[in-house]
Amino acid sequence: MARRGIPEINAGSMADIAFLLLIFFLVTTTLETDFGIQRKLPPKQEDIVDPPPPINQRNIFTVLINKDDQLLVEDEFATISQIREKAKRFINNNGDGTCDYCTGARSSSSSDNPTKAIVSLQNDRGTSLGMFIAVQNELTAAYNELRNELAQRKYGRDYENLPKDRQKEIRGLFPLNISEAEPVDI
């Protein structure tokens, strides 16, 4: 005796429902991407055999951050938004005239050459990481802007759009010299 009566449920829309779920999961799944400011730490002092060569004071751009997150740039109070311009002016200065791609003011009290210019970043133990990264970000931005401007002048393209060897060349002309000093009480 065959049972009759209950009609079969139409499964045609099942596919649609499953697709909807699938697309929902595909869209909401974000692969965690990790961004950050990358730096190289210097080797420990005792590993270095030769003493470092003396550096002319005018080739050092000092940025101090105290425990209240206040800034002192080249012995003057500064705000976070001023750092980028100040750093650019310092790196790009071309004090001894050996840098033919620089557009700086050639001031005698600022850096000689971008390859000699060193940014020294000192912080207190009480400085917040957020402020430290904000300053690092501005200093990196200064270098990135200078590299970009040079890439535009030389090759008419942005630094990121250049082939690897050209990027390397420009990176060599504006090397990122940021020294994170050992902490002191400021």
């Binding site: 499964a11 045609g12 099942m14 596919a15 429902i17 499953a18 697709f19 779920l21 699938l22 999961f25 595909l26 799944t29 965690e32 991407t33 990790d34 961004f35 950050g36 400011i37 990358q38 730096r39 190289k40 730490l41 210097p42 080797p43 420990k44 912080n123 207190d124 133990r125 009480g126 400085t127 917040s128 990481l129 957020g130 430290f132 990264i133 904000a134 690092q136 970000n137 990196t140 931005a141 990135n144 802007e145 994170e180 050992e182 902490p183």
Partner: protein, 158 residues
């Protein structure tokens, strides 16, 4: 009327779509199972600072993570309210970092790539640099020179 009936007799039968849901469900389960939500449970509160000039970490298998922040509320009784370090799934002291670096380094299968090990500090914006500096000194001791300050990406303001 008879004209229509005649025409139908020559048609091939339509492809059955009854198994389509099964296929799609299989795909769905595949994605649900392979999706890894988060590798470690955070014990510390980490609100990453924002930065615009960031680089993306390409090789995630060459990275070790150090979390720095205030302990979550349920751990403040035992761990205090000052910023702490978390390695893997547990709270750690600064002197345990060297051990952790060695562990992560040994986990890299290709020996030639071990030098490219990057340590990423996922630190809360309010954490103090004193602790971060201690970590940096430990990393220098452990000869892990590549460092990454983990940040969120902010749109570039030129």
């Amino acid at each position: 009327m008879s004209k229509f009936k005649k025409k139908k007799s020559g048609d091939s039968p339509g492809i059955s779509t009854a198994s389509l849901p099964d296929i799609v469900f299989m795909l769905l389960f595949f994605f649900m199972v392979t999706t890894v939500m988060k590798e470690t449970d955070l014990l510390v509160k980490v609100q990453l600072p924002k930065a615009s000039e960031v680089t993306k970490i390409e090789r995630k298998d060459l990275v070790g993570y150090i979390y720095v922040g205030k302990p979550l509320e349920q751990y403040t009784a035992t761990m205090g309210t000052e910023a702490r370090i978390q390695l893997d799934d547990a709270f750690a002291n600064v002197d345990e970092i060297a051990e952790y670096v060695a562990k992560v380094r040994d986990a890299i299968p290709e020996e030639t790539e071990r030098k490219q090990l990057t340590m990423s500090i996922k630190g809360d914006g309010e954490a103090k640099m004193g602790l971060i500096t201690d970590i940096k000194q430990e990393l220098r001791d452990a000869q892990a020179y590549k460092l990454n300050y983990s940040t969120l990406k902010e749109e570039v303001r030129y």
